[in-house]
Every structure is written in C-alpha cells, then in structure tokens.
C-alpha cells in the first residue's frame, strides 16, 4: 500500500494539448459503466484502468480530466489512484515484468528467477532499462502458487518459470517493439520524469514500498 509524500512546493503538472481521456474512453464510460452505478465515483477504477492500459501510467493531467468528466474533485481521483498498485503514478517501462515474491514462489525457485531477469536486463527490482522498455517489479501472490514460480508480464501470466525461460521471455519482451510515440513519454530517462505527484526520482513502482 502506498503512502506517498508529494513535493507540494515544487510540484508542477506537465501538460499537453491533446487530452489523455479520449472521446472513445468517455463514450465507453458513459455508455458502458456509468449506468451500472449509483455514483459517478464508482466509475473511477474503470476510468483509471483505461488510462493505465493506454499510456502505461496515469499522468496527473489525466487524473484532472477524469475528475472533470466524472464531476469529482482531482483530490478524490488522486486519493484513489495512489492507493492501488496497478496504477503507475510516474512513467515506467513500456513493459512491466512482475515477478511473484510470495510464499509458494519464493520457496519454489523465485529468487533464481528474479536474479536471472536482473542479470539479463542489467537492472535491479524497481528499475527500468535505460531504453525505457522494461521495468522489473516484484508482486505479491498471483494466484498461480501450484505452478510456481510465476510472473505477470504486462497482462499475461507465465507459470512454472525457470531462470532460463524467464531470461528468454524478458529478452523477447525487450526486443518486441519501439515505444509508441503517442504516449510520448516512455522513452524518457526515469530521472527526467519526476513531475508525477509522488515525485519519485526513479521509476520505482509503488510495490517497491
């Protein structure tokens, strides 16, 4: 869970003209989600999921746009967004490799798997490769304890990992594609991307807390 101090004095929200919350997203929210709920706030998790899925992080400007669209205060959106680990509040790698570190995985070979990934990517847990492509994090139990060790690469689960298989997978992921220009920011070195509310100097995910 995250308790994130924010650099209130120096925090600046970087803006762009093109909205993050697209018309298609707004339509989906108003047609598919809002009719289900008694409050507009209840559509917040789905809205944040859309942003996270599209841009691989949740920019502060997007939070403001969601707030405006759902009739909430930006503070409400920030409050919820900071609580849930799936939402990255600073840009991190285009792909996220999340290795389970919980009980069954740790005692069925996860440390070796994590080590193999670290060696292959040349980064530590909580870091992103310099090309901005892959970020390595550790997650808690992924519900694949019977097929441990497990890792979630973006939205796909990989089970019964060996160090060799894990290394091969991250190599594949890294060579997959160029960072899409649309979101623009992923290519930036982590240090230059410290405008997010958490003011993190690294692309440390909340789970590194």
């Amino acid at each position: 869970m995250a308790w994130i101090p924010k650099p209130s004095a120096s925090m600046k929200i970087e803006r762009r003209d093109e909205p993050y919350l697209t018309q298609a997203m707004k339509d989906e929210l108003s047609q598919r989600y809002l009719p289900r709920f008694e409050t507009t706030l209840a559509a917040l998790l789905p809205a944040l999921h859309m942003i996270q899925h599209e841009y691989h992080w949740v920019p502060p400007q997007a939070m403001e746009e969601i707030a405006e669209f759902l009739g909430l205060s930006p503070a409400d959106v920030l409050d919820t967004a900071t609580f849930y680990e799936e939402y990255a509040l600073a840009p991190r790698g285009r792909h996220v490799v999340g290795v389970c570190r919980s009980i069954a995985c740790e005692f069925c070979g996860q440390p070796q798997v994590t080590q193999a990934i670290k060696d292959t990517l040349g980064i530590d847990v909580g870091e992103t490769t310099a090309d901005g492509k892959v970020c390595l994090v550790e997650l808690e139990c992924l519900g694949s304890c019977g097929t441990a060790p497990a890792a979630l690469i973006d939205e796909e689960l990989h089970e019964q990992l060996t160090p060799q298989r894990a290394a091969e997978l991250v190599r594949q992921v890294r060579s997959q594609d160029a960072p899409p220009p649309a979101s623009g920011r992923e290519g930036l070195a982590p240090e230059t991307a410290s405008n997010a509310p958490k003011g993190a100097s690294k692309s440390a995910p909340k789970s590194a807390h």
Binding site: A42, A43, Y84, I103, L139, E140, S144, A148
Partner: protein
Amino acid sequence: MAWSPKFTQHALCKRIPTWPYADPKDRHVVSYDEYVKTGGYEGLRKALTMKPGDVTEAVKKSMLRGRGGAGFPTGLKWTFLPKLDEGQDDLSKRGPRYLAINADESEPGTFKDRLLMDFDPHLVLEGIAICCYACRLDKAFIFIRGEYHHQAHVLEKAIAEAYDNGIFGPKGLINSNANTGGAKFTVDCYVHRGAGAYICGEETALLEGLEGKRGWPRIKPPFPAVEGLFGKPTIINNVETLAHLPSIVENGPEWFMAQGVESTVGGPPSYGTKLMGVSGHVNRPGVYEFELGIPLRTLIEDYCGGIRGGKKYKAAIPGGVSMGILGTDQYEAELDFDIGRKYNVLGLGTACPTVFDEDTDMVAVARNISRFFKHESCGQCTPCREGSGWLYQLMTRIEEGHAKTKDLDMALEIATSMGSMPGTTICGLADGNNWALRTIMNKFRDEFETRVSPSHVAVKMTIGAAAHG
C-alpha cells in the same frame, strides 16, 4: 484409520477434469452450450419453481459455510437482509439491493477460485443467479482482482452468453417466474476489476473499491447486509461459495450434508466438498476437490504424490498465510472448520495448503510472510500499520543474524498485541499477521533461537492474558 472419500465424484469440478477422477490435462473453458448440455442451469430452473424464502431455507439447512476464509454460514448471512414486504419484488417500489462476488483471491497460497473462473464460469454465474433470486438482489458485481486479466475476460464472455440466453437482463429466466407474484424481477451482472490491493478481499474494503474509493475496510456495524454497497443492502459471497449453490438446490440439502464431517469439538459441522489448492514442496501441486475432513497427510501422500525429492514433511500453512502454521507433529490435521480449535491455527482459511519440506528455513518463511503483511496493511489502524513494519524489520534482523534474544521476545510481544484484543483494529488483516508470525515463532522456536545471540540483560516481555499460543 485410513481416510477414504464417502463421495467419489466431484461436485464443483464436475466439468473441470481434476485428479484423481480425471486428468487435469483435459481442462478447457466450458461454454454456455456445453454447460447446458451437461445439466447446467438445472439448479436455477429448480430454484425458480420454489419460493425465494424456500431456497434460502434449503441453503440454511445445508449448513453451507463460506469458502472465502471465514467459514460463516451462508444461509444465515442471507437472513440478515432486511425483509421485503409483499409486492416489493418490483424494483420501482423499493431501493436496489446488491450482490458483491468476492473474486479478489489474493491470499498467498490461494489459487482455487481461479480454477472455476478459468474453466467453468457458468457454474459461478448460475450460483449468482440463484443467490440473487433467493435474496431478491437486483445487481451482481463480480469484484475480480486486477491481476486476473484472463479470468475477467472469460467471465465477460460467459456473462454475454448468459444475457443472450436469458439468464441475466430484462428478459431473464428470472423474469418468467411465477413465484414473485407476477412482478417483474430481473438481475444484472457485471465484472468489476480491482487494481492490485490485497485488502480489497476484505468484504467492506471490497465495497469501498467498488465505490471507487481507496480500499479501506469499514467499521462495522452497520453490516453490509443492512448498509452495504452505496449504502444499500448487500450480500458478499466468495466465488466458490456461490458455485456450491446449483448442486445444493438441485440435489437438496441432505445430499450436501452427506458429504464432509461433523464437528468433533462441539462446533458447527463442515459439510460438503472443498477446493484445495496444494502448493509448495509436493510432487503434484494443483487444485483438488475433496470432502472437508481429509487429513493433510492423506491429501499430500495419497493424492499429491508425497513430498518432493523424497524429503520429509516439515510444516504447512493450512489455507493462506493469515492462518498460521501447522507444525511437524501436526501432519495428521484434518482439513475442516475445526482445525483452528484443534491445532492452534487461526482456522481453515481458504483450505489451500502450502507445504514445506524438511530443508525449509522457517525464519525465511516468517520473513516472507511479515513482508507481505507490511506491504498490504492499508494503514488505517496503528497496531497493524506500525506492528507489521516492526515485525518485518525484526524478522529481517533475525534472518541476517544481527538479532538478540530480546528481539525475539519483542517480536512475539508485537505479534500478540496485533488483533488479539478485540476492537483494536478494524479488520482481520492484523489478526492474520499475528497468528502467522506467532505460530511460526512458537512452533519453531528452536530455529529462531539458534539465529539470535543472547541479550546482555535478559528481557522477558509479555502483555496480558493474551500472550498464549
């Protein structure tokens, strides 16, 4: 006496090939058509010929207990809903009532609900429809953990099939039933994705998450059956609990009560079968379905192929790290709802044992578990937020060999003070942390003692009568 099953078929895994009655390699997603061809939605059809109150009575009689961890009697929970007057089936004459399905499965070591969602989603949906009919609930939200991308997908697809075939939605089966006095009664069902927070498995945190807020457990009372989602009457049940409903309604409560065991310690019975996801150092890990009451040794030796590499059993977590640990001398423990009172653990939990062999470092186990709780504490209550951090620090220190005897005593004192005293924390997470750490430190005390150096001044700290176990 050797344990043998009284009931030699699967109830929940009827369509999901599962050892020892079928080969897990043959598993596939059961579509609506296949589900119906193999007797699916018969339970719902039968329920619709009964009065809603009679369905609740049948579930109450079966003594079905919640499969999400707490083992609370399901039928009894349903009776806590406010009573509806005659003719109030019509939604326009009253406020909405909700069902929240707990598919947040995040307790380390637990992977059983996933099996149902992976392969037989309509079994879950049929259970949802029956529950909504029995309790007069208008909308069902399946709150599924964010990491279950594939399962959310499978469910969405199955829900679309169910809408097309008149299970949910305006022209539903439920609509065509005569027992609601001719009133229009429909059910809607949605998938709602979480976003990576273990605490959202706690039922009131789940409701907060559904409402778009941070997942902070609520202070109870009011209980959700009275004031739940959006302040309206809400029932929260686990995926597996709901999946039991079709067969209970179809075959009657007596059929269910013939499976499982009575309590031997004067508690409520443990009837029915249970999904048991075995992980850790066994030869054939995976999800099994057995009657409650199967001894851990039988499960591991007879069905899971024994301990890996010919090693010896050392310890097991009965069902999720919150439950504490079964020691080396507790290999015979029967997996039923009595387990807490008989074997000094918190309870059966999710009945998904994580098994450790003789080479396992129990200090490392304690450190892993304490890190989990530190990471997942929502931070509302001081004993939990601070205590979990302290315990993690102490466990790390012990593991690294920098600790003294007094650190061990302090760790026990902190664990004991978390959640043992009722009312000091809002939810059960702190209690889970307490039981996990306290039982490991007590049942494997010698391992911890060899890792710490003696204190210069012996300090023995214990607080109050709660310092037992």
